[in-house]
């Protein structure tokens, strides 16, 4: 295009441009510093230092023979550190490195602008690692800095005002925010993902695993992270009834409990419910597994969810974003009043060998005790009466882990109790399985919802009794009743190792925390969780339920245009005509023009007045007075009264 062909933007940036750029790039780097490998951080520090020395000592920029090996080494380093160039962590590392190297070879303002654009892109990548309010606020610093740096690059004149750059950047961003809000709320949302998402994007997510080994759940309990939040439609159930059902394990290999492939082909277990339903909605944190936690026992399937035969509620995809769903459960139920022979065989499975003592004990019970109910009682009696301890830090177990736990160490966390209880039951001929999930939860009075944390993770068992179906038995409750009644903090003696927020010993801190969590919950619900569904919800709330989503695009365009029009009107009004003095004086000039006197372009007010006085001697005094008053108003102290006077005089002319 002929108007832009001029090479005007290719000048060498000045010292302050380099400073602005380096400072804002430091802020971008700051967003990533925590999750970049040490060597990349070191390299970046070196690059920043180097670039500054280039500027301050007028060194020359490194040339290809330096940059090329550096680039190749960097890429090789990333491949070695991350096992490849793909995946979230590797691409962010690569982008950071490229930004640094581009900075090293940036000479002209055009290079600088490219660096700034890459830096904007790198900023958005920070959200792959977390989207808390803190990160959102932290984003504003690099974005403001980068924008100010960009502004500085458009001014070739020396000695530009530093404050101006920052002020203008803040003004521009301030004016962009209303438009951004419109776009955020109304831009038609598509359900992601559009393409594959690198697997490692979710590796830092915590949650229940698809298997249970001794030590798994106690490790999870050390995390203070929120697992999900629940708001109940009515009063929440008693704490002892709050069993949040997660993965169900029916297969034991001697070491770990897991779900066998066969479990999916078992006949569906029938559920009959009694009493009032409990209605609630769950906001589940992403955990990269399909489980959708629901209260025992779910009587209605949440929208879009699947149910396995043993009544695990599963999402169609691993939960990788925060999701919200409505749950309906019944606390009184009968699950599977009949058990098919296939299912029974599966649910009695045990490894061929191992744990002889436990097997012997179970055989004894089977021979001596009248029925299954009595066997369950006998097993629970062992836990209750012998000196078992409920602890987060149990000693390691030997090859026969069940024997070792039951007869030697007797120290364990819920997975030890649930696992060994289910083993004993199976050995005694009672179908049994392990259920993992969460138990309990903390009511937040601030937002009137319940927080369930990873530290509430729990494991219990279900045994199948004739005529009663599956019965939940929680052996942990036998050892430590307070775990179930009052939560983990009251059950563990060594509270110090629990996450700070699961403890009860700092009431002030807890209160602060609960307030903070309520704000966070709002943030999660309305900002982070704002998706297609929320958008539809919001629109139907504003426009009534009949608002057709097909109109969304039209609405989006209309409101955006309106917002744009408003901003344009504020910014683009012509202020030249708003100078009242000029308007009044123009009236005078028009009057003179009618008398055949035109003010020449170069002619000042005084010269024009002199000429006019000569040409129109009759009006000379008035013209002189008007001009004098005009000049006084223009260059002296302005006042409304004398402006009125000027108007009057012109009218009388």
């Amino acid at each position: 295009m002929s108007v832009t062909r001029h090479a005007l933007r290719n000048f060498t940036p000045q010292r302050h441009d380099v400073i602005w750029l380096l400072l804002s790039l430091l802020a971008v780097w700051g967003l990533h510093i925590a999750h970049l490998p040490l060597w990349i951080n070191g390299l970046m520090a070196l690059i920043f230092g180097w670039r500054w020395l280039i500027e301050s000592r007028s060194w020359s920029l490194p040339r290809m023979p330096v940059l090329l090996p550096l680039t190749l080494l960097g890429i090789a380093g990333i491949v070695a550190s991350f096992d490849g160039l793909f995946g979230r962590d590797a691409s962010v590392a690569l982008l950071t490195l490229m930004l640094g190297l581009k900075l090293l070879e940036s000479r002209t303002s055009r290079d600088f602008m490219l660096v700034i654009f890459i830096a904007y892109f790198l900023t958005v990548n920070a959200f792959l690692f977390g989207q808390s309010m803190l990160v959102a606020a932290g984003m504003l610093i690099p974005v403001t800095g980068l924008t100010a740096a960009l502004i500085g690059l458009q001014k070739p004149q020396a000695a530009s005002d530093q404050g101006l750059q920052l002020r203008l950047a803040l003004t521009l961003l301030g004016q962009a925010i209303p438009l951004m809000l419109v776009l955020f709320v109304l831009f038609p949302r598509l359900p992601g993902p559009l393409w594959g998402v690198p697997k490692d994007s979710y590796k830092s997510m915590t949650g229940l695993s698809d298997r249970m080994r001794p030590g798994d759940i106690s490790e999870l309990s050390l995390s203070g992270a929120t697992a999900f939040r629940v708001s109940f439609a009515g009063a929440p159930p008693m704490p002892s009834q709050l069993y949040w059902r997660g993965p169900v394990f029916g297969y034991f290999d001697g070491r770990e409990w897991r779900a066998d492939a066969r479990a999916a082909y078992l006949p569906r277990e029938s559920l009959s419910v009694r009493g009032e339903p409990v209605r609630y909605s769950v906001t589940l944190e992403p955990h990269n597994q399909p489980w959708m936690l629901v209260l025992d026992m779910p009587s209605q399937l949440p929208e879009g969810a699947l149910a396995s035969p043993d009544l695990q509620i599963l999402a169609r995809e691993p939960v990788r974003t925060r999701i919200r769903y409505e749950g309906v459960s019944h606390l009184e139920y009968t699950l599977a009043d009949q058990l098919s022979p296939v299912a029974e065989r599966y649910l009695l499975q045990l490894p061929q060998q191992g744990n002889p003592k436990a097997r012997t004990l179970a055989e004894q019970w089977r021979a001596q005790l009248p029925d299954h109910q009595a066997i369950v009682e006998a097993a629970l009696r062992i836990f209750r009466q012998q000196d078992f301890y409920y602890t987060l830090t149990p000693p390691p177990l030997g090859a026969n882990s069940i024997d070792d736990f039951l007869f030697n160490s007797r120290r364990g966390f819920c997975e030890h109790y649930a696992g060994s209880f289910a083993f004993l039951m199976r050995a005694a001929g009672i179908p049994a399985r392990v259920v993992t999930g969460y138990q309990g939860g903390e009511l937040n009075p601030v937002g009137e919802y319940m927080i369930v944390r990873q530290s509430d993770a729990h494991a219990w068992t279900e045994v199948w009794l004739p005529h009663r179906g599956w019965v939940r038995v929680d052996p942990t409750a036998a050892v430590s009743p307070s775990r179930i009644e009052a939560g983990i903090a009251s059950a563990i003696s060594e509270t110090a190792s629990l996450p700070l927020l699961a403890r009860r010993d700092y009431p002030m801190l807890r209160k602060l925390y609960l307030n903070w969590d309520a704000i966070n919950n709002g943030w999660n619900q309305w900002v982070l969780g704002y998706n297609q569904q929320k958008q539809a919800e919001l629109l139907s709330r504003i426009f009534g339920a009949s608002f057709p989503l097909s109109l969304l695009t039209a609405l989006f365009i209309a409101v955006t245009a309106l917002a744009l029009g408003l901003i344009s009107w504020v910014l683009l009004r012509d202020k030249t005509t708003r100078d009242p003095l000029q308007q009044v004086y123009t009236r005078f000039l028009r009057k003179m023009a009618r008398a055949g006197l035109q003010q020449a372009p170069e002619e000042g007010a005084q010269d024009f007045s002199r000429r006019a006085q000569q040409q129109l001697p009759m009006q000379a005094a008035k013209i002189a007075a008007i001009t004098a008053l005009y000049l006084q108003l223009r260059y002296g102290r302005p006042s409304a009264a004398s402006l009125q006077m000027l108007k009057r005089q012109i009218r009388n002319l």
Binding site: L128, Q131, T147, L179, G192, V527, L571, D574, T576
Partner: protein, 325 residues
């Protein structure tokens, strides 16, 4: 370039269909809303591409904050468009002029922009079709700013730079707003002086009006002065110049006493332009000499006189002279 391709190129230059701001009786061209065009720059296109990449990434990873930043940057681009536009709007090209130059030299076009909206205007560029490079200035509120454009000249006569392009990419460089302004700007280009070898003295006819060197011979030597371009090589004191540093020419007391006539018919050669160049050289030398001189052209005679004004009058006459056929 052959004529058809030039014609096609001219037709394809869509910018000539765009509006041009013109002066009215009272003011120079004002860049009103109707005259301002705006398009993304190359940097703006890269910025847009990056925003689209960010949007796709945000959809793919369901990043709510990704949407926030994407939309913030998109909105920033839109707001930037208004600011860029507003940075140019309502400026007045109050003044455009250039001092005369000899052909082949660069003229300096002074473009003055007047601000009357009470806003600081940053980095306003001006360029013209045949100017060397766009130049920029800041215009403070209710004041003026001046841009000096370098305008190379080739041929004598009035040279018109054509419409001016005023443009700006401020504040973010993502968009370029531009306007065309028609100004009465024109440059008087004096003919290129002939090489100093073609001095008037070498081509005199002694009869009648007399030539300058014959006058100079009668003068008393008064001293040396630094050589100035246009001094006759005959008057260069070669001895002094080799002794001292720099060039010196002899200066004569009381010179000149009478006027010299620089006559078209005294010039040699068949090429009219060449002959004009010779006359220019003579005028320069006569002016340097400080004496009175007159100019006699086929259609015009300028009476003998001296001084800057006369010098420029002579050069202007030569610049605008029509060659006799």
């Amino acid at each position: 370039m052959s004529r058809p391709t030039a014609f096609i190129k001219h037709s394809l230059n869509w910018t000539r269909w765009l509006r041009t701001a013109r002066a009215d009786a009272r003011r120079g061209p004002v860049l009103t809303t109707r005259h301002i065009y705006i398009l993304p720059t190359r940097a703006g296109a890269i910025y847009g591409t990056i925003i689209i990449a960010m949007l796709l990434g945000s959809i793919n990873y369901s990043l709510s904050l990704g949407f926030v930043l994407t939309f913030l940057l998109a909105a920033l681009g839109i707001v930037c468009m208004l600011h860029t536009w507003r940075n140019l709007a309502w400026l007045e090209v109050s003044h455009c002029q250039a001092s005369p130059v000899f052909a082949g030299k660069d003229a300096a076009l002074e473009v003055r922009l007047k601000e009357s909206s009470g806003r600081m205007r940053h980095a306003i560029y001006a360029s013209c079709e045949s100017c060397l490079q766009p130049q920029s200035t800041d215009v403070p509120p209710r004041q003026s700013g001046t841009i000096t454009l370098i305008y190379p000249t080739t041929r004598r006569g009035w040279s018109e730079p054509g419409r001016l392009t005023l443009f700006t990419v401020f504040p973010l460089g993502l968009l370029q707003a531009w306007s065309y302004a028609d100004t009465d700007c024109r440059v008087l280009v004096y003919p290129r002086p002939a090489a100093s070898g073609s001095s008037h003295a070498t081509s005199t006819d002694q009869a009648g009006k007399g030539s300058r060197d014959s006058l100079l011979g009668d003068q008393d030597f008064a001293g040396l002065r630094h050589y100035r371009p246009g001094d006759s090589p005959r008057r260069i004191d070669w001895k002094a110049s080799s002794r001292e540093q720099g060039m010196y020419s002899k200066h004569f007391q009381g010179e000149p006493v009478s006027s010299a006539w620089l006559d078209w018919h005294e010039t040699k050669g068949t090429d009219g332009e060449e002959r004009i160049c010779q006359l220019v050289r003579w005028v320069m030398e006569a002016h340097q000499g400080g004496g009175r001189y007159g100019l006699r052209l086929p259609q015009l005679t300028l009476a003998a006189d001296r001084g800057e004004a006369h010098y420029h009058r002579c050069l202007q006459a030569l610049a605008l002279m029509e060659l006799p056929t």
